[in-house]
Amino acid sequence: MAEKGLAEKVRETQVWKSIFRHGPPNNARNRAAVVAGNVFLHLHPIKLKKSGVQLGYTWCMGGLTFFIFLALTVTGVLLMFYYRPTAEYAFNDIIALKEHVPLGIMREIHRWGAHAMVITVWLHMFRVFMTGSYKPPREFNWGVGVILLVLTLLLSFTGYLLPWDQLAIWAITVGSNMAKATPVMGHGGPGAMLMQIGDFVMVSDKNDVRFQLLAGRFVGEPALLRFYILHCVFIPLVVGVLIAIHFWRVRKDGGISAPL
């Protein structure tokens, strides 16, 4: 009998077997088992229509978006070790990332990844529309997708403030000034001046939606902290949950769309 190869020997160890409960995926049974038995892979169906794996059809934009989201999560968590969201430190910490933090290039990857995610998520929507994949039974998932797209923009927007440089605060100032113009709820919007009884001003720069967003009348340290929390914790959590729903619905709605 020929000597068993090293790979085979490893496969026969108890440790290996305790982790992977099937043989190499080179036959039908194991190909099914590898997908079904792996917590990450079991998002996929065991078999799917050929058109669904063709790059020409899917552009793989949804997959890329998800992957970039993961990459951003990893780099983002790492960046948090060096970044302090305070007016006195934030800018210097970004400089530090560039100047002396080992592999501070993580920031570049995070930044460009964020932009890339905006692009891929748009292109994903473009493709889904062009293949009519929002049509029944996938209407609900399209809606989830639209919300995810908006959240992606918000993630990027909240992250924009964190370097705490001129680009950051003025971009957020311009952006958040729009909230000021929200009808009735923003102090610069239509109807705000009606919300006043005597000297009791119900909508002012001290209590409108923009104030709630910035925790202040202008982009200052409280806004930095608030955006940091939104960027690092709140929105990612919501996005994570929605992504789970999105994926689950892809499966439940019959996998990747294909001609009926």
């Binding site: 009791f200 001003v201 909508v203 002012s204 209590n207």
Partner: protein, 946 residues
């Protein structure tokens, strides 16, 4: 089972619904609870009560205002208004016409504005294009230029038209306004008349609790624009220490102390009262406005906490108040708080945090007293205090002690200084609470003997330069009173005055005859103190031999028989050896220690114990003793004592002492040995802090000063920064303080204790201040710098009628400069004044000045050089060299504004000249002429008197 369930069901659905309903209601209730819990905060109740307080005040003001307004007057106004309205109505045709015109003009204006705007934008855009084309030499430049010209011309024309229209509109509007001018006027008059009331009524409205108030402050609604809210100041210049980070201090005290910075609530109970010193603290116009200084910077405590009454670490003034607070606010003493609030009397401690480098802090009555007492009792000798390191030692040098007192006196004195001189600043070390046991006494006696032997053995020889010949005791006593010894010393025989003056720079002179070993020494000392001790602050009074002998005779006549008779127990060799062995064995075995002792002879043993004891009791801290130069002070440092954690204070078994920093310090000062009570300690470890026999007031004041010595970091911009003048002034005052200038002279108008002039409290001067030492108010402006310098170097009397003598101080050149510069800076004056130029007279002026000088009878007081009468005022022939011309003018103009008590007449009361016939009655001209005259006679050689 009574009931059959549906297949597939484990529970009855109804039951599930019931449980669900129950839990949901519980859930809802808890939700309400959490909002309520968050909403109800004690300070809101305080603020609502505060509204009532404010309302009461406004009502009071309104009542006053109402008295001013009488109905008749209002009726008058109303009539006028009615009339105005009628007039206005009668002109309706004109108004209609004007309105029509205005309408047309508005249209033209609007159209023109639009056209103008278009042209304006064309001009700017074309201008940019043309500039670009011009600088790039483009082909189309001439065309663009032509276009630009055209636009510019049109724009200018349009602007002209607009100006015309504007004027027309203005006129039309004016005319329109004129049609109701009577009405407007009447309305305005009425508004002005009742304006104050209207404002008050408006203000009163804000204190009312109406539905809008409720909505504004309702839970969930109160994020919009609540009226009940936490108020705060953020102090960027004063920081709190948070793990080496200095974060801006935040004080929210005004959340409850609503009116602390508002006038008019002085008589209201706390927390609504106005600050008691609004002009100095908290007030917007005071040097410490609330927004800049905050509250806890001075008061201590947790100013940013508003949860309840206990949160900000309030401290009750006394047990009574504590009881009241417990009942009212569930008060409990603050715990886990780094700095609790100061009691009311202790707040001044905080002044020291920011006011550094000055001798006295304006307005800090208690803390100044405390600093003065720290100095008086010489605390800084044994305890290091930052900034005090280079002060001279508080006690006299012992380097030549053998020539001054006898050894027997020395021992008895050291044993109990107060037995000899109850006013002595020298504290008591022995027969105190913790060392009065016989075995302790025995050891102490041995130590004192050894100290005396040691100190005397180290003493240098001294030979007095003058011989004593008995003089007149009565004359001596009189002299003591006259020449001004009491500026620094209390003297036996003048008990009344000594008590008033409270001078501290020198010892209280009592029992001198029993103390001083040699009369020759005393005469020499009185004549020239520096001969005995080079660095003494005791000045020479320029006494003649006879005067010195007279004074010495008086002083030597002061005897303390009882003390003289004391016999000090001799040294006990065995006790001495035991003590030494104890010392030697500190780091060695007893055997080695004994062997070491055995090698020493008897004298060496005594001196060794003496030396050790001087070190133990820290004698060297206050007295210069040969061989102890540069030794570190024996007491713990006091620099940061105000921030020392309370747990680091040893309260021992003293349970009645108030458990606070201040309580400990005060108790410690009054009875320093009390912490040994109930504790069994070996002799060598007994507390050594001596007893100063302080009064409670003294202890309190020192406590305040010490509590202020905190380690808090205050950013530079938060510290009181002295400007150039203030810095120089502070340096000068340090010298003035060292030599006790302020013992005799008052340097500023104002409170006694902070501005000096102790001697002036003496009975004879209190009646006529002019007889006492001259005030140095505005001295820097009064005298010229070089004169002042020379004067301090070589004192010559200025005021012949004053008996008290300006002494000749042992000042170094630097010290003189500091004094001169200090006074000069205090008055914001320059060093150099040019008054040596020839005086220029206008024609006839000199004669008239002379006549005025005579008419005012100046020479009747300033007699020197003019007549033979006794001088009542300074020599005018010296004025040119001594005084600054600008000050002379100021002085002549209104002497009382500088020195309220001066006997110099005010010739220009209320700006009116008393002699109107001269210089056309012009005040300026008269003053100018008199000044010139006085300056000119300075050029004349002084006529030889007599």
């Amino acid at each position: 089972m009574s009931k059959k369930l549906e297949p597939g069901m484990a529970y009855d659905m109804k039951k599930l619904n019931k449980v669900f309903a129950f839990l949901s209601i519980l859930f809802l209730a808890v939700t309400f609870w959490v909002f309520l819990d968050d909403f109800v905060r004690p300070w809101k109740a305080v603020q609502i009560q505060g509204l009532k307080v404010k309302q009461a005040k406004i009502d009071k003001d309104l009542a006053i205002e109402a008295k001013k307004i009488d109905d008749k007057k209002i009726a008058e106004f109303d009539a006028k208004i009615e009339e105005g309205e009628k007039l206005h109505a009668s002109r309706s045709e004109v108004i209609e016409k004007l309105n029509e015109d205005l309408n047309k003009l508005d249209l033209l204006m609007k159209a023109e504005t639009i056209k103008n705007g278009q042209l304006n934008s064309n001009v700017s855009a074309t201008n940019f294009n043309w500039e670009l084309a011009h600088s790039h030499h483009s082909k189309n430049e001439p065309d663009l230029f032509k276009l630009l010209k055209k636009y510019k011309k049109e724009f200018a024309e349009s602007k002209d038209r607009m100006k015309g229209l504007t004027t027309q509109i203005k006129t039309a509007k004016k005319d329109l306004l004129a049609t109701k001018s009577e009405l407007t006027k009447a309305l305005r008059e009425k508004a002005e008349f009742i304006g104050a009331r209207k404002l008050l009524l408006q203000a009163r409205k804000t204190t009312e609790i109406d539905p809008i108030f409720v909505i504004r402050n309702a839970p969930m609604g109160d994020f919009l624009d609540p009226t009940l809210k936490v108020r705060q100041v953020v102090l960027n210049d004063i920081t709190d220490d948070r793990y080496f980070q200095h974060v801006p201090k935040v004080d929210r005290c005004m959340t409850c102390h609503l009116n602390i910075d508002k006038k008019g609530y002085e008589d209201v109970a706390q927390p609504y009262a106005t600050h008691s010193k609004l002009d100095l603290m908290v007030g917007a116009k005071s040097p410490h406005p609330m927004k800049q200084t905050g509250c806890t910077s001075c008061h201590g405590g947790e100013g940013h906490r508003v949860l309840d009454f206990n949160a900000p670490a309030h401290t009750p003034q006394n047990a009574e108040q504590k009881k009241e607070w417990v009942e009212k606010y569930h008060y409990h003493p603050p715990h886990k708080v780094p700095q609790v609030q100061f009691k009311v009397g202790y707040v001044e401690a905080s002044c020291i945090k920011c006011h550094k480098g000055v001798e006295r802090i304006p307005g800090g009555t208690v803390v100044n007293e405390g600093i003065r007492n720290l100095e008086k009792f010489g605390c800084y000798g044994c305890h290091k205090i930052e900034g005090w390191e280079h002060k001279r030692k508080p006690g006299p040098s012992l380097e030549k002690i053998a020539s001054k007192v006898s050894k027997e006196f020395f021992k008895n004195w050291v044993w109990s200084p107060k037995a000899f001189n109850k006013h002595s600043n020298m504290p008591s070390f022995f027969s105190q609470a913790n060392n009065s046991k016989p075995e302790h006494m025995k050891k102490n006696i041995t130590e004192v003997n050894a100290i005396a032997d040691f100190v005397f053995s180290k003493s240098e020889g001294y030979r007095p330069f003058s011989k004593f010949s008995p003089g007149n005791k009565a004359r001596g006593k009189k002299l003591i009173e006259q020449v001004g010894c009491m500026g620094c010393h209390g003297v036996e025989g003048f008990e009344q005055d000594s008590k008033k003056i409270n001078a501290f720079a020198g010892p209280y002179l009592t029992g001198t005859g029993s103390k001083i070993k040699s009369a020759d020494w005393l005469v020499s000392w009185l004549k020239k103190p520096t001969h005995f001790q080079e660095d003494t602050i005791m000045p020479s009074m320029r006494l003649t031999d006879r005067e010195a002998n007279d004074i010495a005779t008086y002083l030597l006549s002061l005897k303390n028989k009882k003390f003289e008779d004391l016999k000090f127990e001799p040294l006990d060799d065995k006790v001495r050896d035991d003590l030494l062995v104890e010392y030697f064995s500190a780091f060695d075995t007893l055997e080695v220690a004994r062997a070491k002792l055995a090698k020493m002879d008897d004298v060496a043993r005594t001196h060794e114990l003496g030396k050790r004891s001087v070190g133990k009791y820290g004698c060297f801290s206050c007295h210069n003793i040969d061989g102890f130069e540069g030794r570190a002070p024996i007491g713990p440092e006091l620099s940061g004592v105000g921030s020392k954690p309370l747990t680091q204070f040893g309260f021992g078994h003293e349970y009645d002492v108030e458990h606070s920093r201040g309580g400990w310090i005060k108790a410690h000062l009054q009875a320093p040995r009390r912490w040994d009570n109930g504790i069994d300690k070996p002799f060598k470890d007994l507390l050594r802090m001596p007893n100063f026999n302080m009064t409670e007031k003294q202890a309190d004041s020192i406590t305040v000063a010490l509590l202020g010595m905190v380690t808090d970091y205050i950013p530079l911009r938060g510290v009181k920064s002295l400007d150039h003048h203030e810095k120089v002034y502070a340096e000068g005052m340090k010298v003035a303080n060292k030599f006790n200038c302020v013992g005799c002279h008052k340097v500023k108008n104002g409170q006694w204790d902070e501005t000096g002039g102790d001697l002036l409290k003496k009975e004879e001067y209190a009646d006529d201040l002019n007889m006492g030492p001259p005030w140095l108010v505005d001295q820097g402006h009064r005298v010229q710098a070089d004169w002042f310098h020379n004067f301090l170097k070589n004192v010559t009397p200025i005021r012949p009628w004053i008996q008290v003598r300006m002494p000749s101080f042992n000042l170094s050149n630097e010290e003189i400069n500091a004094l001169v510069m200090g006074f000069q800076a205090g008055a914001k004056q320059q060093t150099f004044v040019d008054n040596h130029a020839k005086i220029e007279w206008t024609p006839g002026e000199k004669n008239e000045a002379k006549r005025l000088f005579d008419a005012l009878a100046c020479a009747s007081c300033h007699t020197t050089g003019f007549n033979k009468d006794e001088a009542q005022a300074p020599n005018l022939y010296l004025a040119k060299r001594r005084l600054r011309p600008s000050w002379i003018k100021k002085w002549i103009m209104n002497p009382q504004s500088i020195l309220p008590h001066t006997s110099m007449s005010n010739f220009f009361e209320d700006g009116e000249p008393s002699e109107e016939d001269y210089f056309d009655g012009s005040v300026e001209k008269q003053v100018e002429a008199l000044t010139k005259y006085v300056l000119e006679i300075g050029d004349i050689e002084l006529p030889k008197a007599k």
